[in-house]
């Protein structure tokens, strides 16, 4: 019998704390496979954030920091400025990155910090139980937008990849999704490219990954994947916003 699928050595062999049907597991695997395939895992440094991704530091076998809420890009900056030859990446959700951590993220990009941000956007605060996030769609219900997000009351969701791609320090920005196998494969390509951009010392790289939160969206995992495709992608268009010019 031939082996067609196995664990990646890029993830520690342990149960994760993620809910059944959560797409964090897929994204972890993509990051792990990318680092292993690029030969970067031993020298990678993971900066875990606050939110559902808080325990990321346990799951990747590389050295890691746990950063305070929103500050992962600043912690990554401090680490990378000393550890210039290591692959430093943050793994952050949308609440962490696009609300409390906006300043740290924008300025890390503006400075062209040679780090990679894995930005998981599921349009909600997951760990704290489903509150409205900066990325929650207009009309979307959350525990702190029980009547649905209203633009006139709570404004509009932030399109992080578009915003960061306007900055000269950003070398690579791409939005991908993991709602079906074809997109999972595209997501991996983008993650790999982002790490390659860092290895080539070309500057700040970010991959925004549209993700589901079946638990807090109150859906079955398959319904959540469909909801992502039908609602998130129209507002958060997939694609590359910036990439270094090929020499």
């Amino acid at each position: 019998m031939s082996l067609v699928f196995e664990r990646t050595e890029g993830l520690v062999d342990m149960p994760t704390h993620y809910c059944p049907g959560c797409t964090h597991g897929i994204i972890h695997r993509l990051v792990a496979e990318s680092l292993v395939e690029l030969g970067l895992m031993d020298d990678a440094v993971c900066i875990a954030s606050v939110g559902c991704s808080v325990f990321t530091y346990k799951y990747f076998p590389c050295d890691a920091y746990q950063a305070s809420h929103g500050r992962a890009a600043a912690v990554a900056t401090g680490a990378k400025r000393v550890l210039e030859d290591r692959t430093v990446f943050t793994y952050q959700g949308d609440g962490d990155l696009a609300a409390i951590g906006t300043a740290e993220t924008v300025h890390a990009a503006a400075r062209g910090e040679n780090i990679t941000i894995i930005y998981v956007n599921n349009a909600i605060y997951g760990m704290t139980g489903g509150q409205m996030a900066p990325t929650t769609l207009v009309g979307q219900k959350a525990t702190t937008s029980p009547y649905g997000r209203k633009a006139e009351l709570q404004g509009y969701p932030i399109k992080v990849s578009e915003m960061l791609s306007t900055l000269d320090g950003t070398a690579f920005a791409e939005r991908v999704s993991v709602h079906n196998p074809a997109h999972v494969r595209k997501a991996k390509k983008a993650i790999k490219k982002a790490f390659e951009v860092q290895t080539a010392k070309e500057g700040f790289s970010i991959v925004e990954i549209l993700s589901t939160c079946a638990t807090n969206w109150g859906m079955t995992p398959p319904d959540a994947l469909n909801w992502l495709e039908d609602n998130m992608i129209p507002y958060y268009p997939l694609g590359n916003f910036k990439t270094p010019e090929e020499n």
Partner: protein, 353 residues
């Protein structure tokens, strides 16, 4: 080495570089700007890096990232900026990362003012962020002492894997005095085997972390921190006791104010009143032992501060109810004059002796 005339803020920078500081993360705020300016000029010449952050919060978290590598790292600010750094200081303590943080303090609350003050005593000595922790706090009274303590702070930070705070004020930061740079006494520094190294090793994971989600893991972590703090209390307390033998009143003052008290001591000699001085050099750990024995002549303690009364709490704790504890404080950026201290001492006596 010849003595140099240096401004306090620049002397801090020079001392830090001499102590091997390689990374400085700054953000502008008066009255400490000459320090990040100095570092941005001098660190690149000394194989180091100055990086200006987007905020004090950004700066302290960059410190967290860089300190996690075991390199010598520093940041500085003044009161409102130090308030912003408290989250990061709590994380640095939780993750046991060494670094040096300078506060050239100014007036508060709020935006307050840019003049000197000692109103950050509580913030510095009580652990200004969340959770159970303390940080060593040095309070220099001259530029020479600032230089000596900054150099030693890096060793203390590394010895105990803790942030160390150097608490000056606008006066210490802005005035010029002559200084010389002397190596601190050699300490046996622990290996940096806890830090994230320049190259990763397969199967050997280094983790910089303050999260212990299980109470049965978190409590031992806090107990470990406090065993470390007990050692700091035992070994690192620093103070000066001056003119206390036979003193009628003993003033307690640190930093800038201790200099004013010295002038008052001279002035009171003419009135036949002997004023002593206990000058805490470490605000945490507070020098409780300095309050154990007083002459029978000593009638009262007098805490003199540029605050509404903060250190006085520690003076009362250290005094253990033995002597009356009086207070004289000026606020808002007003530096007390020696004559004011003289008059306060006379008031304690109910007029001239």
């Amino acid at each position: 080495m010849a003595k140099l005339l240096m401004k306090g803020n620049e002397a801090v920078g020079a001392a830090a570089i001499k102590a091997g500081c390689k990374y400085f993360f700054g953000y502008p705020i008066t009255p400490q700007n000459e320090l990040p300016e100095y570092m941005s000029r001098e660190l690149p010449k000394n194989n180091g890096l100055y990086l200006q952050a987007e905020s004090e919060i950004g700066a302290i978290n960059m410190v967290y990232g860089a300190a996690g590598t075991g390199e010598r790292v520093m940041t500085s600010s003044s009161s409102p900026g130090i308030a912003l750094k408290q989250e990061g200081i709590s994380y640095l303590c939780g993750a046991e990362l060494p670094c040096v943080i300078v506060n050239m303090s100014r007036v508060g609350p709020g935006l307050g003012g840019i003049q000197p003050a000692q109103a950050d005593y509580f913030q510095a000595t009580r652990g200004g962020g969340n959770g159970d922790y303390c940080t060593p706090v040095y309070a220099p009274a001259s530029i020479q002492e600032t230089v000596d303590l900054v150099m030693e702070s890096f060793d203390v930070a590394e010895t105990y894997r803790t942030p160390v705070i150097v608490l000056g004020d606008g006066m210490i930061g802005q005035m010029m005095e002559s200084v010389e740079f002397n190596e601190p006494k050699k300490r046996e520094l622990p290996p940096r085997d806890w830090a994230v190294p320049q190259k990763g090793k397969k199967g050997e994971k280094i983790l910089i972390n303050s999260l212990y989600i299980m109470p049965e893991d978190m409590e031992p972590h806090i107990q470990k921190l406090f065993r470390k703090y007990d050692v700091i209390k035992e070994k690192e307390v620093r103070y000066e006791k001056y003119n206390c033998e036979g003193a009628d009143v003993v003033a307690v003052a640190y930093g800038t104010v201790s200099r004013i008290v010295r002038n008052a001591i001279k002035m009171l000699e003419n009135d036949g009143i002997k004023l002593g001085l206990i000058r805490p050099i470490t605000l945490w750990p507070f020098p409780h032992e300095a309050f154990k024995d007083f002459s029978p002549e000593t009638k009262a303690l007098l805490s003199v501060e540029m605050s509404a009364g903060q250190m006085i709490d520690d003076v009362k704790i250290a005094n253990e109810g033995r002597l009356p504890v009086e207070f004289y404080g000026r606020m808002g950026g007003i530096v007390p004059k020696p004559i004011e201290v003289v008059e306060k001492v006379k008031e304690i006596f109910g007029g001239a002796k």
